[in-house]
């Protein structure tokens, strides 16, 4: 049976949380089942062997159980020549078995009825088949037995169900409850055997499932990062190379990419139109993109938008102030400060550009008079503008809101 050395044990690897039942080569008498079971149950092999012998005498249940366990238990990997079986011990156990059988037959104590015979015959038949089959077939059966339970839980459940139903049916056909003991014993042995084998599998399966799920989540995250890097960062780098001669455009692209990446890394997903701070950030980002002038935003406190549209109007005025600064001030950068303190919302838009003479602005220039001052006053707020030629400009917007 050296061919089984390579028997694959997918999943259980070396780190199975529970020890799997194995049939050792060394010290085995027949197939190593008793020894394996003893190791699993932490009992002396002699106890298990005696149990098998006793059960075999009772209608051959032990033999069947032995055969089943032999089939479904993988052999322990073993290097080197096969060790000799201890024939003397084997014959001793056989003698005990024969003696017990004779005793039982003589006294009629083991009157399990003729109904048990098929099981015994079936078990022995299976054993013979097992021995006769060629190594390749045996290997596929072995891995099939372990794999199928691992892979197909439905089938396992079905199998266990069938065993139970079969046992119940057997009991029923026996008709006599007094005779049921060997049958019950059989069921217990089969179910117990299955449980011994299935428990580590189920545990392993569970662990595998958890691992798989973690791995899947990790892979999804990795895919998201890859998509993000590809769609935005790589794209922007390509664009930057193409417009390398235009330093303003390069700066604009780099800033916009930086902002996007920061949002993605640090900022919790939020509705950009739900609160003042979020709206100010969004507007500043949009105007920065549109005009290529960096806009630094600092927000202190926050408040959700009011239903009356006052803050929405304020945001429009703020946007206009940013547009003016970006378009006309020739400033390197623009500072925007939004503050919510109590019931007052204030937005300051400041540049260090060339400034202008407020009184000299023609009456038909709508940008400041209408879009900023007029709009704020219509909604109950106020706007002040501080500017002087050469001193830069600051637009100060304030609006009172009632906390809802």
């Amino acid at each position: 049976m050296a061919d089984q050395k390579t028997l694959a044990e997918p999943g259980t690897g070396g780190e199975a949380p529970y020890r799997r039942m194995m049939r050792p080569m060394e010290g085995r008498l027949l197939g190593g089942v008793a020894q394996g079971l003893a190791a699993q149950l932490k009992l002396d092999p002699v106890v298990i062997r005696l149990m098998f012998v006793l059960l075999s005498v009772v209608d051959g249940v032990g033999m069947v159980a032995y055969a089943v366990l032999w089939m479904v238990t993988p052999r322990e990997p073993y290097e080197g020549p096969q060790p000799q079986r201890d024939w003397s011990q084997l014959s001793a156990f056989t003698a005990i078995g024969v003696a017990l059988a004779a005793f039982g037959w003589l006294t009629g104590a083991s009157a399990g009825g003729i109904g048990m015979l098929p099981f015994a015959v079936g078990g022995i038949g299976a054993l013979i088949l097992w021995q006769q089959a060629d190594p390749e077939r045996r290997r596929s059966w072995m891995s099939g037995a372990t794999l199928s339970i691992r892979k197909n839980r439905v089938r396992t459940v079905l199998g266990v169900g069938l065993v139970v139903i079969g046992a119940a049916g057997f009991l029923y056909s026996q008709g006599e409850l007094a005779q049921a003991r060997p049958g019950m014993l059989f069921t217990v042995v089969v179910v117990g055997g299955l449980a011994v084998i299935a428990a580590p599998w189920l545990a392993g399966l569970w662990k595998e499932l958890q691992l798989e799920r973690r791995e899947r989540i990790r892979q999804e995250e990795r895919a998201e990062v890859a998509a993000m890097v590809h769609d935005s960062v790589l794209h922007t780098l390509t664009l930057i190379q193409r417009v390398a001669h235009d330093s303003r455009e390069v700066t604009r692209l780099a800033r916009s990419q930086e902002r996007e990446l920061r949002n993605w890394l640090y900022q919790p997903a939020q509705d950009a139109d739900a609160t003042v701070a979020a709206a100010v950030r969004r507007i500043a980002a949009e105007e920065e993109d549109a005009h290529g002038v960096p806009i630094e935003v600092v927000c202190v406190g926050d408040v959700p938008f009011d239903s009356g549209g006052r803050l929405a109007a304020m945001m429009k005025a703020a946007r206009q102030a940013m547009v003016n600064a970006a378009k006309y001030s020739e400033s390197d950068s623009i500072s925007v400060y939004a503050e919510v303190e109590g019931e007052e919302v204030a937005v300051f838009v400041k540049d260090r550009g060339k400034g202008f003479d407020l009184d000299a602005v023609p009456l038909d220039r709508m940008g400041i008079r209408e879009s900023i001052i007029g709009r704020m006053e219509r909604h109950g707020g106020s706007a002040r503008i501080r500017t002087e030629p050469g001193e830069g400009t600051e637009v100060m917007l304030t609006m009172k809101v009632e906390r809802e």
């Binding site: 640090y266 600092v298 927000c299 202190v300 400060y337 400041k350």
Partner: protein
């Protein structure tokens, strides 16, 4: 001439900063992680350490802990790409005398280094905004009222910094001297570092946005 040590794990960035710093500043060395930074600071005794926040081996906060914990009086200016409140408040409370982001211009950086070397604090508009935000949410009773709240004047100064005003402009606006502005900022820095208000760290942790 101000002697500066640059601590950053990106070689490209170190050389970039070296090139940008003006003639009034002498870069005496560079370090790329916590270990080499601690060693270089002990050996070179620079006036100012430009300190990156995120580095292998514990980051800027670890450098601060080990160097300042050992009783050194070297001054630190944190320089980072991260604008996360946690990081900003973390290094300031760790003992840095200022925080600027890496997209700062060469002239502004030179200015900031000079200011830190003179013992003043350097607040970027964003840091000022963080401090206002952190100290504004003060509904819980404070243990030490002097440390745990800002004076009206300090608040005014911080608001102007957040609005993008330079110290000179603030002085003009509030009819005080630049030196007084610097005093106010240093006082805020001290409160930020010494205040026991656990809200401060909680606020910073809760506010993980840029």
């Amino acid at each position: 001439m101000t002697r500066v040590l640059i601590v950053d794990d990106h070689r490209l960035f170190r050389s970039g900063v070296r090139a940008e710093l003006g003639d009034s500043i002498e870069v005496v060395g560079e370090a790329e992680d916590v270990e080499s930074a601690v060693k270089a600071i002990a050996e070179l005794q620079p006036d100012v350490v430009l300190l990156d926040v995120h580095m292998p081996g514990g980051g800027g906060q670890e450098v601060l802990r080990r160097v300042l914990g050992a009783g050194s009086t070297v001054r630190f200016l944190a320089l980072s790409v991260s604008d996360a409140a946690e990081d900003v408040i973390g290094v300031i409370r760790g003992g840095a005398r200022g925080y600027v982001t890496k997209n700062i211009s060469g002239k502004e950086l030179t200015d900031a280094v000079r200011r830190v070397a003179e013992g003043d604090a350097v607040f970027s508009p964003r840091l000022a905004g963080f401090v206002l935000d952190a100290f504004a949410s003060s509904e819980a009773p404070s243990i030490d009222p002097e440390l745990d709240s800002l004076t009206q004047r300090e608040r005014e100064v911080l608001r102007l910094i957040a609005r993008g005003y330079a110290y000179k402009e603030i002085a003009k606006e509030l009819f005080i001297s630049v030196k007084t502005v610097e005093t106010h900022v240093s006082s805020v820095l001290r409160k930020l570092q010494l205040s026991n208000r656990h809200e401060l760290s909680r606020w910073a942790t809760a506010r993980r946005l840029v």
